[in-house]
C-alpha cells in the first residue's frame, strides 16, 4: 500500500509525559485519566520500564495483514488505505475472537455495557484521511512519536539506528513482525524489557488458519466421493445377499 501511513515510536526519546495519551483521549472523547493498561477507554497508554527509567507506548499495531481482520467471522475489521485497521461496530456480534486472536492483545471490551463494543486505536482515521496527522504524533514534542508514510518512517528508523549504533538496538520492531505492522518501534533498551511480545512470527499470522481453511473445499469434495462410495459398495453387498437369498427362496418353492 503506497499511501499507507505509519507511526514511529522511539523509546530512547520518550520521557513519559503522556501528552500522547491525553491528546488521544481528547481526540476520541475518552475520559482523561492516566492508565498503564489498554482498556475500552484507553486506546494508548505509556508504561514505565525499570522504575520509570524508560517509557514505552502501547497501542494497536495496525498490522499490514491483521489477525483481527481474518479472525472476525462477520468481517467487522478492515485494513484501510491509510494503514489504519478499523472496527465496524454495526457488524460485531460480540464473540470476542478478535481479542483472543490478536498476538499483541490489543482489542479491549466494554464489559460493563449492555451492548458492548470492541475498542482500540483508530490511527485517527478521519484526520489522516483528510491529510492530517494523528493526535498523538502532533502532541509529542520530544520526537518519540512521529507519523508519516510507512516507507519514510522505516527510512527514518534505519537512519537513527545507523547514526547512533551504540544507542539503539539494531532492530526495527514491526518491520517484519506479523508480516509487518504500521506501528514501528526503535529502542535503546532491549525489546524484551519493553514488554512487547517477542514470539511473533515474521510472516502474516492469518496464514496459520488460512493454510487449513483453504484446503477444505477440495477435501470436502473428495471426502463426499469416498463416503458415497463406501455406502454404495457396502449397500451393494447387502443388496446382493438379499437378491441371492430371494433366489434361493424361489428355487426352494419350485
Amino acid at each position: 500500500m503506497t499511501n499507507s501511513k505509519a507511526l514511529l515510536i522511539d523509546v530512547s526519546k520518550c520521557v513519559g509525559c503522556r501528552e500522547c495519551a491525553r491528546a488521544c483521549a481528547e481526540a476520541n472523547n475518552l475520559p482523561q485519566e492516566d492508565a498503564t493498561e489498554l482498556s475500552a477507554t484507553h486506546y494508548t497508554v505509556v508504561q514505565g520500564i525499570n522504575d520509570d527509567q524508560s517509557f514505552v507506548r502501547r497501542l494497536c499495531m495496525h498490522c499490514n495483514e491483521p489477525t483481527c481482520v481474518s479472525a472476525c467471522l462477520v468481517g467487522a475489521f478492515t485494513k484501510t488505505e491509510t494503514g489504519a485497521v478499523l472496527y465496524d461496530e454495526s457488524k460485531c456480534i460480540g464473540c470476542r475472537y478478535c481479542m483472543q486472536a490478536c498476538p499483541f492483545e490489543v482489542p479491549r471490551y466494554e464489559w460493563s455495557s449492555l451492548s458492548p463494543k470492541v475498542q482500540k486505536c483508530k490511527m485517527c482515521y478521519e484526520r489522516v484521511a483528510a491529510g492530517g496527522k494523528t493526535a498523538c504524533s502532533e502532541a509529542c514534542v520530544f520526537g518519540a512519536t512521529t507519523f508519516g508514510d510507512r516507507d519514510e518512517m522505516i527510512k527514518e528508523a534505519r537512519k537513527r539506528i545507523d547514526e547512533s549504533p551504540t544507542t539503539y538496538i539494531n532492530h526495527i520492531y514491526g518491520l517484519t513482525e506479523a508480516g509487518g505492522t504500521s506501528v514501528l518501534y526503535i529502542s535503546n533498551i532491549p525489546f524484551e524489557k519493553l514488554g512487547l511480545p517477542m514470539n511473533i512470527p515474521n510472516e502474516p499470522i492469518p496464514q496459520l488458519s488460512w493454510r487449513v481453511l483453504s484446503q477444505i473445499p477440495k477435501y470436502s469434495v473428495a471426502a463426499s466421493v469416498v463416503l458415497f462410495g463406501i455406502h454404495w459398495i457396502t449397500a451393494r453387498r447387502t443388496e446382493v445377499a438379499r437378491f441371492e437369498a430371494e433366489q434361493k427362496k424361489l428355487v426352494e418353492r419350485n
Binding site: 479472525a71 472476525c72 467471522l73
Partner: protein
C-alpha cells in the same frame, strides 16, 4: 399423570431444580447487568467456561451422532440401528444447548443473525458458525422420523427416507469440519498458548478426541437410559463399540506424544508446573486409564465396566477442552481465570435442561424402538434377514 409421584422430591430432582433456578437467575443477571458484572471475563481473558465447556465440550460430546449415522447408513452395519436414534437425539440436544450457551456468552446475542449475511470465509469462526448451523439442521432432519412416526405423518417420512444417505454424508462432512475447526480456532494464537496444547495439528487432535468422546457418550447414555427407562441395554453392540474406542484412544495417545516430541515440547510434561499437572491428569484419566481398562474382555463385556470406562474418557475429554481454552491461556501468575457463580450455574442449568429434555422426549416419542423403524419403506427387510439366516444355514 400421577401427581403425587411427580411432586415427590428425589435427590436428583432437587439438584436439577436448584441448578435450573440458579441458572435462570444468572442468565437474567447477565442480560440486565452485562458480562462484566456477571462473569470473571476480562480483556486479557475474553473466553471462559461458556466457550471452554459449553461450546467446546458440548459440541464434542455430541460427536456420537455422526459416528453412528455413518456406521449404520454409510458402512451399512445395520445391527447398530437400535442406538442410532438415542445418539442422534443426544447430538441434537447437544447442539441446541450449544446455541443456547452462545446466546448467553455473545456480547450482542440479538445480532447473531449477522452470521447469515455477513461473511468472512477467512475466519475459522465463520466456518465453525456455518457448520454448526447446517449440522444442527441436518440433525433435526435426521431425528425428524421419530416425530413423524409419533404423529403418523407418512408423506414426510418417505421424503426423509429418500434423502437419508445424502443427509448422513453431509452430516459426516459437517461434523468432521467443525469438530476439527473448534481446534483450528486456536491455530492463530501460537504465542499465547502453552506448548503442551498448541500444535499445528490441533484440528486433527480435536477430531480424534471427539470420536473417542462420542463413542464414550454412546456407552454412557445407553447405561443411563437403561436405568431411567428400565430397558435392557444393547450390551453386545456396546462391547463392539468399546473395542473401536480402545483403538481410537491408542491413536490419540500416539499422535499426541509424537506431536509433543516433534515440537520439542515433551520437556514441559515433566516440569513442576500446574499446567503439566493438568496435562498429566488429562492424559492419564482420559486416555491411559480407560485404554488399560478396555484391554480386559471382562470390562468390555460388563455394563459397569463399560460405564466407568466411558466416564473416564468423558472426564478426560472435558479436561482437554478446558485445558485448551483456559489452562493453556493462563499466564500464571499474572492472570488467572476462575468462573463466576453465574457462569457456573448457567452451564449447570443448560446441562440439566439437556438431561430433562432427553428424558421427556424419549418417554413420549419412539426413540428406543425394539424393531427397525423403517417398516413402511422396506417391507421386505425382515424377510430377507430371515432368508439370509436360512441361506447361511444351508451353506
Amino acid at each position: 399423570m400421577n401427581f403425587p409421584r411427580i411432586l415427590k422430591l428425589t435427590f436428583w430432582k432437587s439438584v436439577a431444580i436448584v441448578f435450573i433456578l440458579l441458572g435462570a437467575i444468572a442468565a437474567i443477571e447477565r442480560y440486565s447487568m452485562g458480562l462484566g458484572a456477571t462473569t470473571h471475563l476480562v480483556d486479557t481473558f475474553p473466553w471462559g467456561i461458556w466457550i471452554g465447556f459449553d461450546i467446546l465440550v458440548g459440541v464434542g460430546l455430541a460427536a456420537g451422532g455422526f459416528a453412528i449415522a455413518a456406521t449404520v447408513y454409510l458402512f451399512n452395519i445395520e445391527r447398530f440401528k437400535p442406538i442410532l436414534r438415542p445418539t442422534v437425539l443426544t447430538a441434537f440436544l447437544g447442539y441446541v444447548l450449544v446455541i443456547a450457551g452462545l446466546m448467553v456468552d455473545l456480547g450482542r446475542p440479538w445480532t447473531i443473525w449477522h452470521a447469515f449475511i455477513m461473511w468472512n470465509p477467512h475466519s475459522v469462526m465463520f466456518e465453525v458458525a456455518w457448520c454448526v448451523i447446517l449440522y444442527t439442521a441436518v440433525l433435526a432432519l435426521e431425528f425428524s422420523p421419530v416425530v413423524f412416526e409419533r404423529f403418523n405423518l407418512q408423506r414426510p417420512l418417505k421424503i426423509i427416507h429418500a434423502i437419508t444417505i445424502p443427509l448422513v454424508v453431509l452430516g459426516v462432512l459437517l461434523s468432521t469440519l467443525h469438530q476439527s475447526s473448534l481446534g483450528s480456532l486456536f491455530l492463530i494464537i501460537p504465542g499465547r498458548m502453552h506448548p503442551l496444547w498448541y500444535s499445528s495439528i490441533i484440528p486433527f487432535l480435536f477430531f480424534i478426541s471427539c470420536v473417542a468422546a462420542g463413542l464414550a457418550m454412546i456407552i454412557f447414555e445407553s447405561f443411563l437410559s437403561s436405568r431411567a427407562f428400565k430397558r435392557e441395554i444393547e450390551l453386545p453392540l456396546l462391547t463392539e463399540l468399546s473395542r473401536v474406542l480402545a483403538v481410537v484412544l491408542a491413536l490419540l495417545f500416539t499422535v499426541r506424544i509424537q506431536d509433543l516430541m516433534s515440537r520439542d515440547a515433551l520437556q514441559y510434561v515433566f516440569q513442576p508446573t500446574y499446567q503439566s499437572a493438568l496435562f498429566l491428569g488429562e492424559i492419564i484419566i482420559g486416555i491411559v486409564v480407560p485404554f488399560s481398562l478396555l484391554l480386559f474382555k471382562k470390562i468390555r463385556s460388563s455394563q459397569k465396566g463399560l460405564f466407568y470406562t466411558s466416564t473416564f474418557v468423558i472426564l478426560g475429554f472435558v479436561a482437554n477442552r478446558m485445558n485448551t481454552a483456559i489452562t493453556s491461556m493462563e499466564h500464571w501468575p499474572q492472570r488467572m481465570y476462575v468462573p463466576s457463580w453465574q457462569e457456573l450455574f448457567v452451564t449447570l442449568a443448560l446441562g440439566t435442561v439437556g438431561f430433562i429434555a432427553f428424558y421427556l422426549i424419549a418417554k413420549n416419542f419412539p426413540v428406543f424402538v425394539s424393531h427397525h423403524e423403517d417398516a413402511p419403506a422396506h417391507p421386505a427387510e425382515h424377510e430377507w434377514i430371515k432368508d439370509l439366516e436360512l441361506v447361511s444355514k444351508l451353506n
